[in-house]
Subunit: 337 residues, 2 copies
DNA sequence: CCTGGCACTCGCTATAATCGAGTGCCAACA
DNA sequence: TGTTGGCACTCGATTATAGCGAGTGCCAGG
């Protein structure tokens, strides 16, 4: 579609702009990248690239800046394919992560590593919980009509929720229910609870009614737990970038990051395919990300999968960022298996 | 120390500056506040207030701005004593909070309420865990040399941690240890674990050695859990303020907020006394807060106390903010008891 | 089809002029 | 002695103007 030279010019322009952040002109392009032609030729090519929507001029008679489509073309076919960071980095972050045992801490550490390697905001979504198998259930009385449900999964994740009961229940009866639940749920997947409830409910004995209530709460607990799974770090990194000198430009993003549910939706929506995904500027459905780029991928396999990624300006070092996200996700997958 | 009129002038000036954010001159002071004297007189008073360090001029021949000392005087003796928000607000946030049962969610909701009522950043520290009584301990095998410790407190808080064991342990033996721990720890305070360990350790049977390891992990778990207890929300509110238009001014704060441990230290250090505390600008030991003001108070009593507060610009509506923080903390105390 | 040259555009910077809110000071006054 | 009106002065903010320079589009020649 684009001629070879035109592709070369676009590649050089994107790289230059990513590096400097200033509109780039034909002269500096010829000088700093080994383009075998004169600046006039490059100007012609730039005119064509503007025609095709890959670059634009912020003001007439100024240098060019890539459009979202320009970045897209760069990411899809122009930049170096590898994009892996040097072995040093990989080693450094691996040793960091290896020390951690707790899942929460692991996600936190991963975010830190991602952010400090890319200098963008790192976002992580902890492994999905509803796919995990249930190992044990604790049921503790917290007063006549209140109880605490604690759920422990095979993979070692612990969830808990306070439950309002519809009737007064003695600690002894709660203990019975606890035993019954543990007997019937052990090893089951959380996702399998729903049909189980239908089976148990018809039996209408008071105890089974109680079981039904508790099951409801367990299911709710699992759904709600998702909200807490989004973690982010690295906003100060973005504040250091010149494009975010006026804080107003960062406001929508920070608002979005503070809203766990919105972040969860955004990340899940982006991660449709099972591979690394890049959303550039206006490609994002969320308007808050209209001037940002998002690189995400999932990690883990089957039972416990989550999402990691970075959010940065559209003027992002895609090659490096994609490499970092990919390696971090791979290492995370290894650690979790 | 300050004459009545001088105090009045300072009060008017602080209120005016809090309202407009612009340096305030003698004329507008006389006009908008009912000062019974001429602008020339006010100028004399302002000169004296500058002498005493309560106000300063950003440039010669411009209006005055309160210094940190000026705000301090205002907070300590000039502003209206009540500072309570209208009943409407109180009612609104009460109904919000009443719906929540889970402690984590409660803190989250509280932060939201605090932030939206004050338009500053809200920070909350969940109730201290090491003071809580232990209700139950779960000990689950996660492989030959790994185990999961789950700690449930009387108040319904659940902690968990993965443990690396020094020797191979069968699930059966873990179950034994679990029973032993539950028998001896039930109802004990977490803070009482340390001496207990010393008592158990000398007994040198292999099982007791295991108990000792697990106890170590439980203690570590409690200490570590503190890190997660700090929650904050509302940065976008600050971004809307004119003083933070250049994002560089907010960078130190955001960096601090992202560092849970640093926040924990800061909040604990500030909350020495058992009452509402105001730290204005340079009064903060953390340099990141050098241009911010911090209003915090604690809530709860004895067993489960935590901290709530707001962080905003030194040009803060102290009267309202103090009122909001106080009422929210009071309601929180009620809800938790 | 490429290239050097040339006129043109236009944002950025520097300089100068003006404006006005606010001050300090002083002399007059209660 | 404390208060007040008046006045000269300061200085940041705003506006206007000029010049610079990076960059462009276009054209004519190779």
């Amino acid at each position: 579609m684009l001629s070879d030279r035109r592709r070369l010019v676009l590649k050089a322009l994107v790289e230059e702009y990513i590096h400097t952040g200033e509109p780039v002109g034909s002269r500096s392009l010829v000088e700093r990248h080994r383009l075998r032609c004169s600046s006039a030729t490059v100007r012609n090519e730039l005119g064509a690239l503007e025609e095709s929507g890959h670059v634009y001029q912020p003001h007439i008679s100024s240098g060019r800046i890539p459009t979202d489509a320009g970045y897209r073309a760069f990411v899809d076919g122009l930049m170096g394919p590898g994009g892996l960071p040097r072995a040093v980095d990989a080693g450094a972050h691996r040793s960091h992560l290896a020390l951690v045992s707790e899942v929460d801490d692991l996600m936190r550490q991963t975010s830190q590593v991602l952010s400090s390697l890319t200098h963008y905001v790192a976002v992580t979504l902890a492994p999905t919980i509803s796919l995990a198998r249930i190992r044990r259930i604790d049921l503790l009385s917290m007063g006549l009509r209140r109880a605490l449900v604690v759920l422990i999964t095979e993979s070692g994740k612990v969830l808990n929720r306070h439950v309002e009961l519809s009737e007064d229940v003695t600690p002894e009866r709660l203990a019975e229910v606890e035993r019954a639940l543990n007997a019937s749920l052990d090893g089951k997947r959380a996702a399998e609870l729903l049909p189980l409830r239908a089976v148990l409910q018809p039996a209408r004995s008071p105890q089974d009614g109680l079981i039904s209530v508790v099951l409801d709460q367990i299911i709710g607990c699992l759904e709600e737990a998702d909200r807490d799974r989004v973690y982010h770090v690295g906003v100060p990194e973005l504040l250091a970038l010149p494009e975010f000198a006026e804080s107003a430009r960062l406001r929508p993003l920070i608002g979005l990051l503070e809203d766990g549910i919105a972040m969860l939706e955004t990340l899940s929506e982006v991660m449709q395919a099972n591979e690394i995904t890049v959303r550039i500027g206006s490609e994002n459905t969320r308007s808050e990300l209209g001037e940002m780029s998002l690189i995400v991928t999932n990690y883990g396999t089957g039972d416990s999968d989550g999402i990691v990624g970075v959010i940065g300006p559209t003027r992002m070092d895609y090659q490096r960022a994609i490499g970092v996200v990919r390696t971090v996700a791979d290492d995370l997958s290894d650690l979790l298996s």
